[in-house]
Symmetry: C2
Subunit: 394 residues, 2 copies
């Protein structure tokens, strides 16, 4: 049995989702052309998916679009509101701890001289510094873009306060929430009333690969960077991936089935992982917040004196999959920028591993990890030039 | 039984393709992170797909990238080579008969003042006017972008001559071929030696939805318009849809299995459709070329005095799916621009229907169409204000 703790990157597609998608691949593989039986059948399926997501986030169905990848969705969310016809360089506010789909986009565009970016700092829990946010937003700010839950340390951001601050400081600024890591991790998903654009990749909730929901409030002007036929959407041009759109609806439906139970289950496994690992391995640091400020599916630990990547490789040999502090869409190809922004400590960032759960995670997987981790860490500390003498002699 | 003649828009996914994709959804759903068993397993599957496409078009595997949609692929192909740092407005050459994924992109960008575009005319067969192409390309031209087979009338473009003309007129201009409608329709797919960028959507050959192969010759500078993590590709940032990448390889493999037989089969059905329809329905016009200049899978007919959309709706009631001259990614939301560019005749364009075949098409489907079409056309002519008196009295 593999113990898989990388649901923040990718999840298996639920067989019930595949089952729901299958007829749209093999029988009803039509395009949603108007005025025909085939076309209207497809168009209805698309609308059902729009309705499901709209209901979840409390938006309107006609405001829901479908992007073919998380990166494309966030590029539309970030670049789309900027092309508003002024000559001035657009000002974008984000945080210092964003995932690559936001961070890499604004970094690249900043480097190419296409935007001016302010990176708002976070506190030691990874939570956005609200005073700094208030200060960062000016009357010239075009866009505020951030994830509602941090991908690396699971910090749940204070979205109500963030929304109030943005509206108060600049009512014309567009507010983009990437809620990918909130999906199925919070009881309440009413993000639309707080924001102008919401993106959500369903491949992290056992949904189809790639497909990303993109909600844009009516009246918000989104232009580019992708052009093409607007027959099905003015926001995401091109053809629709109907099977994936149907699968996304099913994945959301399955996510909502006993969501409180799912959250409770993940919290229990999360707390087992944290407590049992910290009890068994000396000098282990928990990165990110404790308790309710933390996503129920996130565990991020640093084992002092050793490299997260080495831990990852040793765990891999035991059929255990985790992520490390130096990978996962790191724009600098070095120590994780989120942990650096939180702690300013290279060793802590390099030594981090991340375990991300889903509702499909099991106690057996947790036990398997907890069983092997003490030996792996001990072995690596034995050969680490940084480890104190006591670890060499064990 | 439905008779489906819209393979130019979408095809059923071959069950053997789904079978090949399945373990990558349910068991090997990992991301291609380096240094791990899971990661390298996935990375090898991705490389196999790169190799399959590279072998087909005679490029190099490391030059093959994967875009999440046809529209995104063509936006990268078109916008990517433009951002080369000069202040001058980039000059793009395309043809008057392109599909929406090229036509809508350049039209939009031209309208926004982001590029200058020359639309090269075509002859009465829909084939690019080579003298006009030669004239259109200047030392300032950044990009020449066109499809190797026309989506609407199936005209096979003279790619060798086009490539020679582009190289001769401006060796620095980037040449982009969209070979989507050539896939499985020509015996020889060696497009890479002729071009700098090649795009190919596999959803038209019973492959997975969305996924589009994007080959970029080494040394060709492609930047944007999508930014994000370049961990897996400098050309298409973001995560990889591994199941779709695996499915694309399988779809290409199935396409190549007895390709001469497949082409022969489609040609026979195409010629049956054309001949039997034109024999049975008076005043029917064939749009596009005859014989070997025409894609084996394309039939495009105009029934004089009536609307293509009405024909489509009547056929739909008989469970027959076709496309019309006023839809399919038409940038003007009016009569098909390809037919207008070829014939300058609104009636001919409005009255057109397109039937596109695949190797899965059958004689039964053709017979079903041929059986019902004379009555449908007769009924519609009876109520058409444009039809001559003789049709009213039948």
């Amino acid at each position: 049995m593999r113990a898989y703790f990388d649901h923040c990157r990718s999840t298996f597609v639920d067989p019930r989702v595949l089952e729901e998608m299958r007829p749209w691949w093999t029988e009803k593989y039509w395009s949603p052309a108007p005025f025909t039986y085939t076309g209207t059948t497809v168009a209805e399926a698309v609308e059902e998916s729009q309705m499901a997501f709209a209901k979840l986030i409390k938006g309107k169905p006609e405001e829901v679009h479908f992007a073919p990848s998380h990166t494309v969705a966030n590029n539309i969310a970030i670049q789309g509101p900027l092309s508003t016809g002024t000559d001035e360089l657009p000002h974008v506010v984000t945080t210092a701890v964003e995932h690559g789909t936001i961070m890499d986009t604004v970094r690249h565009m900043e480097k190419l001289g296409l935007m001016r970016v302010t990176y708002v700092p976070v506190d030691k829990n990874g939570v956005v510094d609200l005073d700094a946010l208030r200060e960062a937003i000016t009357p010239q700010t075009s866009l505020v873009s951030l994830a509602t839950v941090n991908y690396m340390v699971g910090a749940i951001q204070p979205v109500d306060q963030i929304s109030s601050i943005v509206r108060e400081r600049n009512p014309r600024a567009v507010l983009h929430f990437d809620i990918t890591w909130s999906l199925g991790r919070t009881l309440d998903h009413s993000f639309a009333p707080l924001a102008d654009i919401v993106t959500a990749s369903v491949e992290r909730i056992h949904g189809p690969k790639g497909l990303t929901m993109l909600w844009v409030r009516k009246g918000v002007n989104v232009k580019g960077p992708i052009y093409g036929s607007q027959a099905y959407s003015r926001v995401v041009p091109g053809a629709l991936d109907v099977p994936a759109i149907v699968g996304a609806r099913k994945a959301l439906e399955l996510m909502l089935d006993d969501l409180p139970g799912k959250i409770q289950h993940m919290k229990r496994l999360r707390d087992r992982l944290i407590k049992e690992t910290m009890d068994a391995v000396p000098e282990t640091l928990l990165n990110g917040p404790e308790g309710d400020l933390r996503s129920p599916s996130n565990v991020c630990l640093t084992f002092r004196y050793i490299e997260g990547e080495s831990v990852q490789m040793y765990l891999d040999m035991e059929d255990i999959t985790v992520d490390t502090g130096s990978a996962c869409a790191n724009p600098f190809l070095e120590a994780n920028h989120t942990l650096l922004a939180m702690y300013g400590d290279y060793e802590r960032a390099h030594g981090a591993i991340r375990l991300s759960l889903s509702w499909a995670s099991t106690d057996e997987e947790v036990s398997k990890f907890v069983e092997v981790i003490p030996d792996i860490v001990a072995k690596l500390r034995k050969i680490s030039p940084l480890a104190p003498k006591e670890y060499k002699e064990r």
